[in-house]
């Protein structure tokens, strides 16, 4: 599955004003793999995700995507390199229809592959097809998450960043969404970088995993390794299941 490193984050430090949110983070994601980052609230997971997208930009360190240094690039140009993001809180366009939301996702190619891609998305998430002329804001949380991922996929990404896709969703929907991610990875070889609090589901899915605490990456390994790691189990798995 894995190949060349597609995304390399090297010694990144990100600040909000004077507060250091990321403290020398090193992360690598290889071509064609699912990588995940787990950690508690406020560990800096979403900040890392946003830093990769250039908002906020890293103060020191480097973000390298596909051999290019993207550390100082503006967000929209990073997106044009085919890094698509399903941001935290989904951020779909609430007054626009599902169909229009997907159109917005295909802005990069000016709708060139739209018809073909929209069929793919509807096959992946049949619920979206049923709801295509409904406004984004009237969808349920799970449907909104599907739309957010679908919209990101419309950009034909090389790297898909998913920020807490399971946030606030029913377990059944979470399962559906994780299955969809797995399928995308298998059938299309899509590289996925996933940030999750739902450590169990995320680790089971991942080829490579990182644990983040207070702006540091404290542990890394394959998903299976971390699942078996007693520290990880104590902190993120069993603690949550008692």
């Amino acid at each position: 599955m894995s190949g060349q490193p597609l995304l390399k984050v090297r010694g990144v430090e990100t600040y909000y004003g004077n507060i250091r949110a990321l403290n020398g983070v090193d992360v690598e994601v290889n071509q064609g793999e699912i990588a995940c980052l787990i950690g508690a609230n406020g560990a800096g997971k979403s900040t890392l995700m946003m830093t990769i997208c250039g908002s906020p930009q890293a103060r020191t360190g480097q973000v390298i995507f596909d051999g290019r240094d993207i550390t100082r690039m503006p967000t929209h140009e990073i997106a044009r390199l085919r890094i698509a993001q399903s941001p935290e809180g989904r951020r779909i366009f609430p007054r626009m229809t599902v169909y229009e939301n997907l159109q917005m996702g295909a802005s990069l190619d000016n709708l060139k592959y739209f018809d073909e891609d929209v069929k793919r998305i509807f096959k992946l998430f049949p619920r979206l097809e049923e709801r295509q002329s409904q406004r984004g804001g009237t969808l349920s949380g799970g449907e909104q998450q599907m739309l957010s991922i679908g919209r990101a996929l419309m950009a034909r990404p090389k790297l898909l960043l998913l920020d807490e896709p399971s946030l606030g969703l029913a377990p059944l929907i979470v399962k559906q969404i994780f299955e969809a991610i797995k399928e995308l990875n298998k059938t299309e070889g899509l590289t996925v970088f996933l940030v999750e609090q739902n450590a169990f589901a995320a680790l089971r899915l991942s080829d490579r995993a990182y644990v983040m605490v207070n702006g540091h990456v404290t542990m890394q390994g394959s998903g299976k390794e971390l699942l078996a790691n007693p520290e990880v189990r104590a902190a993120y798995l069993e603690g949550g299941r008692h």
């Binding site: 997208c53 908002s55 503006p74 967000t75 929209h76 140009e77 997106a79 044009r80 698509a84 993001q85 941001p87 951020r91 779909i92 366009f93 609430p94 007054r95 626009m96 229809t97 169909y99 229009e100 159109q103 917005m104 996702g105 802005s107 990069l108 000016n110 709708l111 929209v118 295509q132 002329s133 409904q134 406004r135 804001g137 009237t138 919209r151 950009a155």
Partner: protein
């Protein structure tokens, strides 16, 4: 059966009693409230002393209006609303012929409106209808549609829109009086200049949103006005620029000369022809604005504007350059303001900074909000109601018999705006036409969509 009747009579009785009670209460409160504000008026007498005088009649009128109004609300309106809520119709409603073809009917009416006015009121009598009502309303329709691009589509709250109107008006006024350029050349130039100023405003405010943006645009509007007032060498300050050349129709002038329009077509000289010409001109400009808006909404840039209104961060993550998107929104909106401005200058023949005060921006914005942000139809209806209503107030001379000779109804136009605002926000919080029309469908529209797409609160 009898029991039922008795019960309903009793209910009516108690409703009536409640109405009387609440009416008297409202009367008492309004008496207390208005006693000092309306009951007593201070005046300067001949010796320059301040004296006061009671206005019992006027006070009584206000108290009676309050009491009767409350009585009617309690006995008629509230039961009616309750009854309507109880037998609320299902959401799917068959549209009538009128509402289906509303736009076509409105357009046909507008095309024939001047002809209708001339037939009914005579050439000279049509002036009032074509000029005061027709042109005046259409100018505001155009301005509101222009502002709609900035506020309604791109979601950038602009309180200084009148600045672009002013730029357009002064561009035409100055360039035509100093260089003698023609209206048809200056119309696009004014638009381009206004668009340029739109970009100049756009740059510094790119990082601002919401309230902060509103304040800066407000200041920008004031800066333009103050420059117009103080740059007396060029703009003649508060005196304004007068005798601005009129627009021409393929080189035909609208004056009393031998080559003038009336003489050429063998008609009796009248200023009405110029106004009718202007009516069709502003109608064409309005249609252009609407056409461009509708087209743009279906194009990538229009979609980007709407997405920007919804969520700026998501836009950037999708690879949309928010800087150019915002600037084009400001520039496009400003351009239509500029067109309207140069038209305004050609119509009035006179411009002064007084025409471009903040209140104008507020009125235009109020029309956009009342109409429903983003909806062209709603905004047009709001403009007709608001500007037409203002003009109607001028006609209400009979009110002088009630409120005394020094009563000037048109001073109450802001009251009209306030009342309309409160009513619309109470009953239709998203404006007359609050629903957003989607711009794209997969194949054809599904029937379920209309009932499902009702807006939630949020």
């Amino acid at each position: 059966m009898a029991d039922n009747n008795a019960a309903s009579v009793r209910a009516d009785d108690s409703l009536f009693q409640k109405g009387i009670k609440e009416g008297l209460f409202a009367g008492a409160i309004s008496f207390g409230m208005f006693l000092l504000y309306i009951g007593i008026v201070t005046e300067q007498n001949i010796h320059n002393e301040l004296v006061y005088r009671f206005r019992w009649g006027l006070l009584a009128a206000f108290v009676i209006i309050a009491a009767v109004g409350r009585f009617l609300i309690v006995t008629v309106v509230q039961p009616w609303v309750a009854a309507r809520k109880a037998n609320a119709k299902p959401a799917v409603e068959e549209k009538g012929f009128f509402s289906k073809n509303f736009l076509k009917i409105a357009l046909v009416f507008l095309v024939f409106y001047p002809i209708l006015a001339v037939t009914l009121a005579g050439t000279q009598g049509s002036l009032k209808y074509v000029d005061n009502f027709g042109i005046q309303i259409l100018i505001y329709v155009m301005l509101a549609w222009g502002l709609n691009i900035v506020v309604g589509l791109a979601g950038l709250l602009d309180l200084g829109y009148v600045a672009f109107y002013a730029v357009g008006a002064y561009s035409y006024a100055l360039l035509s009086s100093y260089f003698g350029l023609s209206f048809w050349l200056l119309l696009p130039i004014s638009g381009i200049l206004a668009a340029l100023w739109g970009m100049i405003l756009g740059f510094p405010v790119l990082r601002l949103r919401g309230d902060y943006l509103a304040i800066v645009t407000l200041a920008f509007g004031e800066i333009i006005r103050l420059v117009l007032i103080n740059w007396t060498d060029v703009t003649k300050g508060t005196f304004g620029i007068s005798s601005i050349p009129k627009a021409t129709l393929f080189g035909i002038k609208f004056d009393a000369s031998k080559e003038g329009f009336a003489a050429l077509f063998g008609l009796a000289p009248s200023s009405a022809y110029y106004k009718i010409f202007l009516f069709y001109l502003i109608l064409a400009l309005c249609l252009l604005t609407a056409y461009v808006t509708i087209r743009l909404r279906r194009m990538p840039i229009g979609r980007a504007w709407e997405a920007l209104r919804e969520d700026e961060i998501a836009c950037r993550a999708l690879g949309i350059n928010t800087v150019t998107t915002k600037l084009t929104a400001f520039a496009t909106g400003a351009m239509f303001g500029g067109f309207a401005g140069s038209f305004f200058a050609a119509r009035q023949g006179f411009v002064s900074p007084d025409s471009f005060i903040f209140m104008e921006s507020a009125i235009i914005l109020a029309i956009v909000v009342l109409g429903g942000m983003g909806s062209l139809t709603g905004i047009a209806i709001a403009a007709v109601a608001m500007i037409g209503g203002t003009e109607l107030l001028r006609e209400m001379e009979f009110l002088k018999h009630i409120f005394g000779d020094d009563f000037t109804p048109e001073l109450y136009r802001m009251l009209l705006f306030g009342a309309a605002m409160v009513l619309v926000m109470l009953f239709k919080p998203r404006g007359f036409v609050g629903s957003r029309e989607p711009t794209a469908f997969l194949k054809e529209r599904k029937n379920v969509s209309s009932s499902f797409t009702k807006e939630g609160h949020g």
